[in-house]
């Protein structure tokens, strides 16, 4: 019996989705009840899985072809258990919040249906034990993201944003598919079960692995010759293709640099969706997937560097843009991009435990920030421009204090969750390369700056618009989740005598490393208590906060005017001109071919030819019977002549 319990993690939200789809979407309160109920049940099962020792269910065979086996099964290791708790826990809190936030929306039932299908897909990603299953659920979260971004589909911008998110994700998923296929080609399996990966790993010479953790190790050419010597079907180039391909999945889902454009636009969706899908869980799925295949990422030094570089670049790039945004949700969206960049950088620098640690704390405080921002927006009747807020701190105190805790956790104020995870992450980056470290430090400074700016402008000073003069505090279903998340954001980083989120993931990471390197390889441990770690992050955070206070305290308009940042480095415009414009040009050309070559020449042309030939031949139909007889007999005579006489 116990072996089947875990399937209910997937079945429960699926049943809720189907019920809402079939009937309950007309009865919003029942739909909300079904959805929140399924989320609660999921959370309870997740608790049982994490602490109650429930075994993974027996997997069943789904595809069985020679050389290609796909089983539907689950992995329960610390990595998936931790992520499962984050997804179901934060998910449940946001479900409850949505009940208050969407109270008066006519599409409430549909909304909860979207949330349930998201919970189904996201849980599937976390638990999937092979890449094909993961990819299926991966597309599932893409679908629910599309549905929920475009929730207010009557708004043109929301519908466009949903399309944009979907198209960006599809493009990146193409790379992901290439990665999965290369994975299958190299490994002969699509399973990512730790024991299977470890077994495959043993076939690979240890000298390869050193090369990534130690850049002075073997070169690509040496790797290839080693592979040939050991008869392993692999090559350094293919391994890099695999790593970069898998990373492309992360680039799309976690909105890394070239594909980051969809995430800020996704803020068109309802705020709980932004919190759940586009801040806490779905966008972190990319990072989770990288951690899941982490041992294999180590096989490609260029791939690892690429991952770290893209993450690092996205972190500072998005933080710069966030400095000049005015929409409260967009600031948070760019902040999310920046923090995701941190996590990806941590994976690329060899610290997936740091990435998962930061992912978890980030899920807490970023969900908190979004929900609190939603509470502000709710209080001000859908006002999102921070320059039309002001003076809110004593009018909606609970929202303010929880937002402030989230903000302090995000900028890494000592003692709060973000402080621990960010510093751990940066120290990992420092071991890998000081360059990544310093860019990370600059990002931390920018983060402190733009978050302080946001709080100062939105919550302090005089009200700058009519709506900001008489805000009202949000109802209980919205404030209770804020308090829960605020507590988690406060204590999320603490360790209680070896128990805590950081030791939890670190333990998983060490397990992975030990199963990979039976001979014992020294994993670079971040140095603790150095001058850099103690002073520098605190100092830059203080610098950011103080300069933001100095610039923005009491100002009515933005004293800074950096157009290139306000316009997001013109990336959208660039894509509009080059990709969308190019696509339009190609479409127009193909349309011309379709209209003139295919439709005109081939289809209508051939029709015209047969019509013309018919016109010609009907001239022979004279109607004179004797004419026919004459021609017929002439033919007969000619036939006889040629058969008898003309040899």
């Amino acid at each position: 019996m116990e072996h089947y319990v875990a399937w209910f993690l997937l079945i429960t939200p699926l049943v809720a989705t189907i019920a809402i789809l079939l009937n309950l979407h007309r009865k919003p309160d029942y739909a909300a009840f079904a959805s929140i109920g399924s989320a609660s049940l999921c959370f309870l099962i997740a608790l049982a899985v994490a602490f109650g020792g429930i075994q993974p269910p027996t997997s069943f065979e789904w595809i069985a072809l020679p050389g290609f086996n796909v089983d539907m099964g689950m992995i329960f290791d610390p990595l998936s258990k931790g992520m499962l708790l984050v997804v179901t826990g934060v998910g449940l809190v946001i479900h409850i919040y949505s009940y208050g936030y969407m109270d008066h929306d006519p599409g409430k039932g549909r909304f909860f249906g979207g949330l349930s299908i998201f919970m189904f897909s996201m849980t599937g990603i976390v638990l999937a034990d092979n890449l094909i299953m993961l990819f299926l659920f991966w597309e599932g979260v893409g679908l629910s993201s599309y549905l929920l971004i475009g929730f207010w589909y009557e708004k043109e911008s929301a519908a466009q944003a949903a399309n944009k998110a979907f198209v960006c994700n599809r493009l990146a998923d193409f790379g992901f598919m290439i990665g999965i296929l290369t994975f299958w080609f190299l490994m002969g399996t699509v399973s990512v079960k730790p024991e299977v990966v470890a077994e495959k790993y043993q076939q690979i010479p240890p000298s390869w692995v050193h090369s990534t953790l130690n850049p002075e190790g073997a070169t690509a050419a040496q790797l290839d010759s080693t592979a040939a010597k050991h008869g392993v079907r692999t090559s350094a180039v293919l391994l890099t293709v695999m790593v970069v391909g898998l990373f492309f999945g992360c680039i799309g889902k976690s909105a890394m640099f070239p594909f980051h454009v969809w995430l800020p636009d996704a803020m068109e969706g309802p705020t709980p969706v932004s919190a759940l899908i586009h801040a806490a869980t779905m966008v972190a799925a990319g990072v989770y997937m990288l951690c899941r295949v982490y041992p294999l990422l180590l096989l490609s030094a260029p791939g690892m560097f690429f991952i770290a570089f893209i993450g690092c670049f996205t972190a500072v790039f998005a933080a710069l843009i966030a400095v000049q945004q005015n929409d409260i949700k967009r600031i948070l969206a760019y902040s999310t991009l920046s923090q995701l960049g941190y996590m990806v950088m941590a994976v690329g620098c060899g610290g997936p435990d740091a990435a998962m640690f930061h992912l978890t704390t980030h899920a807490f405080f970023k969900a908190l920030l979004f929900l609190a921002a939603g509470s502000v927006i709710h209080a001000l009747h859908e006002e999102q421009d921070i320059w039309k807020m002001g003076g809110l701190w004593n009018k909606i105190p609970l929202t303010f204090y929880t937002f402030a805790i989230g903000m302090l956790a995000l900028i890494g104020f000592p003692g709060l969750a973000g402080f621990f995870s960010k510093d751990y992450l940066l120290s990992i980056a420092y071991v890998r390369s000081p360059g990544f470290y310093w860019v990370g430090v600059i990002t931390a400074c920018l983060t402190a700056f733009y978050m302080t700016r946001l709080v100062v402008v939105a919550f302090f000073g005089p009200p700058r618009a009519h709506a900001a003069e008489h805000p009202h505090e949000s109802p209980l279903p919205m404030t209770i989740p804020l308090v829960i998340l605020a507590v988690l954001s406060f204590i999320g980083g603490w360790s209680f005598g070896g128990y805590g989120i950081q030791p939890f993931y670190h333990g998983w990471f060490m397990d992975v490393i030990h199963s990979m390197y039976p001979l014992g390889v020294v994993v670079p441990e971040p140095e603790t208590g150095t001058f850099l770690e103690m002073i520098v992050p605190g100092a830059v955070v203080l610098l950011g906060v103080v300069s933001a206070f100095y610039l923005y305290w009491g100002s009515k308009t933005d004293p800074l005017d950096i157009r290139i940042l306000a316009n997001k480095f013109y990336i959208d415009e660039l894509y509009d001109r080059s990709l969308v414009g190019g696509q339009q040009l190609a479409a127009r050309f193909l349309n011309w071919i379709d209209g003139w070559i295919l439709g005109g020449l081939i289809i209508r042309g051939s029709a015209y030819v047969s019509v013309g030939v018919g016109e010609l031949f009907r001239l022979f139909q004279t109607g004179s019977l004797q004419g026919y007889a004459f021609v017929f007999s002439l033919g007969g005579i000619l036939l006889i002549y040629f058969t008898l006489f003309a040899h």
């Binding site: 139909q621 004279t622 109607g623 004179s624 019977l625 004797q626 007889a629 004459f630 007999s633």
Partner: protein
Amino acid sequence: MEITLNHYLAVAAVLFAIGLMGVIMRRNILIIYMSIEMMLQAANLTFVAFSRFNNQLDGQVFVFFVITVAAAEVAVGLALIVALYRLKRTTQIQDLTTLKF
């Protein structure tokens, strides 16, 4: 002068040519029909001639078949012509141009 096979064949050819000319040149559909019969008899004549000179009876047997078929054909053909006449009130071939473009 001895009458040889060639003489018979020549007569049959002339008969056939006259029939064909009639089909092509006469205007009245009844006459055309009679000319077709004439062409048929030219064929019969060759059958008989070959039968006579090859000392085989097959050709003569065939002639009876042809005559039978021709009789049936006449019955059908004349009925068609009568029906045509009732419809169009003419037997002149130049008036029957319904199929003309």
